[in-house]
């Protein structure tokens, strides 16, 4: 029987290796898989390439992973935060690399990675500083940049519901990068609020079909990142 349920977040991230590329879902705290990230901190893998839209808040979740020195590089569209100095300090100290990618290009590169498209052209960033080192080409009247697909060894994603096949639904704007990262990672690990029986998710409303998902972990009451940040919490 196909059954992707894993008993704990610890077990789910156990085999992440040093030097792995790790996609981490979320836009700010919405969709950020905070329990999986904390489990990855405990697990100890180092030298990670983190692919995520942001670099986290406060000293919990993604910011804590970065603060712990586990990320050698981040691929990201917006590594600034009103309430975190973790990334800026490491970056200024030259202790972490940054590949800055426009948000839509980041999303499309991840989708391309999941869809077997090695490269595509986009108008975003043409003629700007972020075009440096990239091939450009005209189609019709406009100039476009060649962008390469992104894949990863692992994705850490937060969703709302899953069944044993790994079919997923998400919650509101917490969907963001999750479905794309599940497509693009060789091992997509998903924490969900609810595990339901096969068939309980309307097949018309499945957002991520199960074949994109490797592991599902039940985290019924995930921490509120913004609340932890307000309280000044730090992980571990």
């Amino acid at each position: 029987m196909i059954d992707k349920r894993i008993t704990s977040v610890e077990e789910a991230v156990r085999d992440v290796r040093d030097g792995a590329s790790v996609m981490i879902g979320g836009f700010g705290e919405a969709g950020s898989p905070i329990e999986l990230i904390h489990a990855l901190i405990d697990q100890g893998a180092r030298g990670l390439t983190v692919i995520s839209n942001n670099t986290g808040s406060g000293r919990v979740g993604l910011a804590a992973l970065i603060a712990a020195g586990r990320a050698a590089k981040v691929v990201c569209s917006y590594p600034r935060s009103a309430n975190s100095t973790v990334f800026p300090e490491l970056y200024r100290a030259g202790r972490i690399d940054l590949e800055l990618v426009p948000q839509g290009t980041l999303a499309e590169r991840i989708r391309a990675g999941g869809a077997g498209i090695p490269a595509f052209y986009t108008p975003a960033a043409a003629g700007t500083r972020l075009a440096q080192g990239k091939e450009s080409r005209r189609f019709g009247e406009r100039e476009y940049l060649l962008e390469l697909a992104l894949t990863a060894d692992v994705a850490l994603v937060r969703a709302e519901r899953a069944d044993r096949y790994g079919n997923l639904t998400f919650s509101k704007t917490a969907r963001n990068f999750g479905p794309l990262m599940c497509m693009a990672a060789r091992c997509a690990i998903v924490q969900v609020r609810h595990i339901v029986d096969a068939g309980a998710i309307d097949p018309e409303a499945v957002v991520t079909p199960g074949l994109f998902v490797s592991r599902v972990v039940h985290v019924p009451a995930p921490a509120h990142e913004s609340r932890l940040v307000r309280e000044g919490a730090a992980y571990p």
């Binding site: 836009f27 919405a30 948000q103 839509g104 999303a107 108008p123």
Partner: protein
């Protein structure tokens, strides 16, 4: 007693008045993406009888007004990471679909802030280019490349009095030739084949007042200039 110099009092339109002018210029039924900060005010001033559909690039079409604090949901936010609501008839989608809307030309209007705008419509709004600054671009480059009409809302000059409408952007570009119109506290300025053209001047100000605070040639196409 000697007093330290104080910043000039705000002159011309208030931010709310700027937002009202922007909202008046957006056609009924348009899909609109509002940038983080001042542009968010535009949603408050949709004229009666018009319906706009607000898009936020983090995956929602049909953004409604902010919730009361008791109903905030950390999973229902806008691109500025502030709590919002969803109207009846809203739709959620993932980031690739959201930027397909943007890049594919399906958003009619976006309203963005600016650091600098040049007469050809070049926009710089993502980085001061300082070596020490943490570069962060977000979705700005995708928006200006894809949205049909890019409107800018900005103070006419910086806090230190430097013009933001300039001959050439010295800050790193967000996009080349992308801006249609600028709404500043002093004037509504079109990007035209002839360069900047003031369409409207804030009450009580003269065109010369605007011109002196503009870092590039500007034409007077306003009513009182005709």
């Amino acid at each position: 007693m000697i007093r330290p110099p104080t910043p000039a009092a705000p002159e011309g339109w208030s931010r709310e008045e700027m937002a009202r002018l922007v909202a008046l210029d957006i056609e009924d039924g348009a899909c609109v993406n509002l940038g983080i900060g001042i542009p968010e005010l535009v949603a408050r001033f949709v004229p009666p009888g018009r319906e706009l559909l607000f898009h936020t690039e983090n995956g929602l079409l049909g953004v409604g007004p902010p919730p009361d604090p008791a109903h905030e949901d950390p999973e229902l936010i806008n691109a500025g990471k502030k709590p919002v609501t969803a109207i009846p008839g809203a739709a959620y989608f993932h980031h690739a679909d959201s930027f397909a809307m943007i890049r594919g030309g399906h958003i009619d209007v976006c309203v963005l802030g600016a650091m600098q705008v040049a007469p050809g419509g070049d926009l710089a709004n993502w980085s001061t280019g300082d070596d020490d600054a943490i570069p962060a671009v977000g979705g700005a480059m995708d928006l200006v490349a894809g949205v049909k009409r890019v409107l800018v809302m900005t103070e006419h000059v910086t806090k230190t009095g430097q013009p933001k409408l300039v001959n050439r952007c010295t800050y790193p570009l967000t996009g080349l030739g992308v801006v249609s119109r600028v709404y500043s506290n002093l004037a509504v300025v079109d990007i035209t084949p002839q360069g900047f053209a003031a369409r409207r001047i804030a009450p009580g100000l003269t065109f010369d007042h605007v011109r002196e605070r503009t870092g590039a040639p500007i034409l007077d196409w306003s009513d009182h200039g005709v």
